[in-house]
Subunit: 307 residues, 2 copies
Amino acid sequence: MSHTQIAIVGAGLIGRAWAYVFARAGSTVRVWDADPAALDRLPAEIAAMIDAAGGDPAIAARIRAVPTLAEALDAAGLVQENGPERIEVKRELFAAMDAAAAPGTILASSSSALPASAFSAGLPGAARCLVAHPVNPPHVVPVVELCPSPATDPAVMARAQAIYAAAGQVPVLLSREIEGFVLNRLQAALLAEAMRLVDEGICTVEGLDDTVKHGLGRRWAIMGPLETISLNAPDGVPDYIRRYGPMLAGLADSCAQGDAFTASAAERVAAAFPQRATPEGVRAGTAWRDAELAALDTHLRSRARKD
Amino acid sequence: MSHTQIAIVGAGLIGRAWAYVFARAGSTVRVWDADPAALDRLPAEIAAMIDAAGGDPAIAARIRAVPTLAEALDAAGLVQENGPERIEVKRELFAAMDAAAAPGTILASSSSALPASAFSAGLPGAARCLVAHPVNPPHVVPVVELCPSPATDPAVMARAQAIYAAAGQVPVLLSREIEGFVLNRLQAALLAEAMRLVDEGICTVEGLDDTVKHGLGRRWAIMGPLETISLNAPDGVPDYIRRYGPMLAGLADSCAQGDAFTASAAERVAAAFPQRATPEGVRAGTAWRDAELAALDTHLRSRARKD
């Protein structure tokens, strides 16, 4: 299972990180992109990733750029598609992938917003299509949301789950399509209230972030939000909901919703990060973030082994 | 500043952890509790904390149980109150503390739900009373929410902020009273949607927790939610809100609110943690959690020093 051959379609930031993830786990990876220049840059960019992560140089030898979609898909057990997040592009790509891939090949999209039904409905191979939504960058953030369309075969979901797990990721299975999947729904719920608290001046942007990074977020990074509450009352979860459910319900009822994403809130947040107003500043910030995510991943994996 | 003398009122779990925090930073700490048995247990419990945390044995020598409230408050720069979360108890304690403390002493409550106005309104020293809400346990989770009542003197807030920061905590200042302060509002917003997703069977309890602990929660533990979005579009926050604001608003509008805290959702979550159904199971779980939080705190502090 750990050596399933993988095809990567789309050699942008996410596609390259997926190539790295699968090759790191021992898979042979073929990468195709509609833009030949993206393929020309691939070896240098993979070398840079290995360098930054202190990865095994052998990883690069398992990744090969190929000039056609058909060559990439040949003998692949799973295709990870990373095209632009535009419905007409994804539809065209999935039709081409479905026509070119052998019958047993799984076709997965990194889409963060489009559900699989939007680009696979009506295809002969709709049953082998799904969304496999990563967090950027997947080589240091292991979760991947696996979301079927109504046509996806449950056996395909189970095989996909095994392939991502064998690659060292943490697959999360959704039972059916839902807007935003799970991760972005949770993010939106928290962000709406965060934007409102900052916009109303209850605390500063820094104070808001401190509350999460030096408080709530630490428990969540170790346990997630539901295991967190399993430890917050003497008799477990039912006891917790009896004690704190009414208070939490009252708070949730008064939390902000969609109207919190205002230009004024955005300006307050932007003003707290003046160094992130340009693409260069954002790039420097993401390099720092990715190094911290890598260090945190190493820390958390070392703890997990002790349990 | 780092040697402000501290009084701890209430020697339960939170009170003891506060004693440890301040003594670890070099302060002399006097602890009083209405229950003499709690004071008798204090030395053994502080010794156990030092042992578990690999702390300096000198910490214990800075903490002293005293038989009266007046003795605890004598010469204290700040009082940290940790009584039961019942309004009549807090009112009585704050009246007694205000009568006994020297004029310059700050009176702070660990209250997680009661606002300072509820127990300090009308006291002669209402201007020196505030809430200083920690996350349990404060010696390994540094955030502390500082929330004034309408009567609290801003100079008192600034002094309290400096005292907590000197003790190694991360104080977050709120501008005014709000139900749930910041931390529990953010928690309630996310938990409501988490409970609903699990109750509707979109994903399992484990899948929900995995989405956060192996994804979203890692970014948040490093940066908080707002710095996170400052890195998610090439031109920073305004660019992010232009690109993703409408999607996030749509998700937030369809997120669950208070009615998600149902008995059925609680049962689903409880079923995922059968080992946490008894006080013994919860205690074993919190010991594991606190060890993980301590290790994460050490990791994050070591990274912070490199920046």
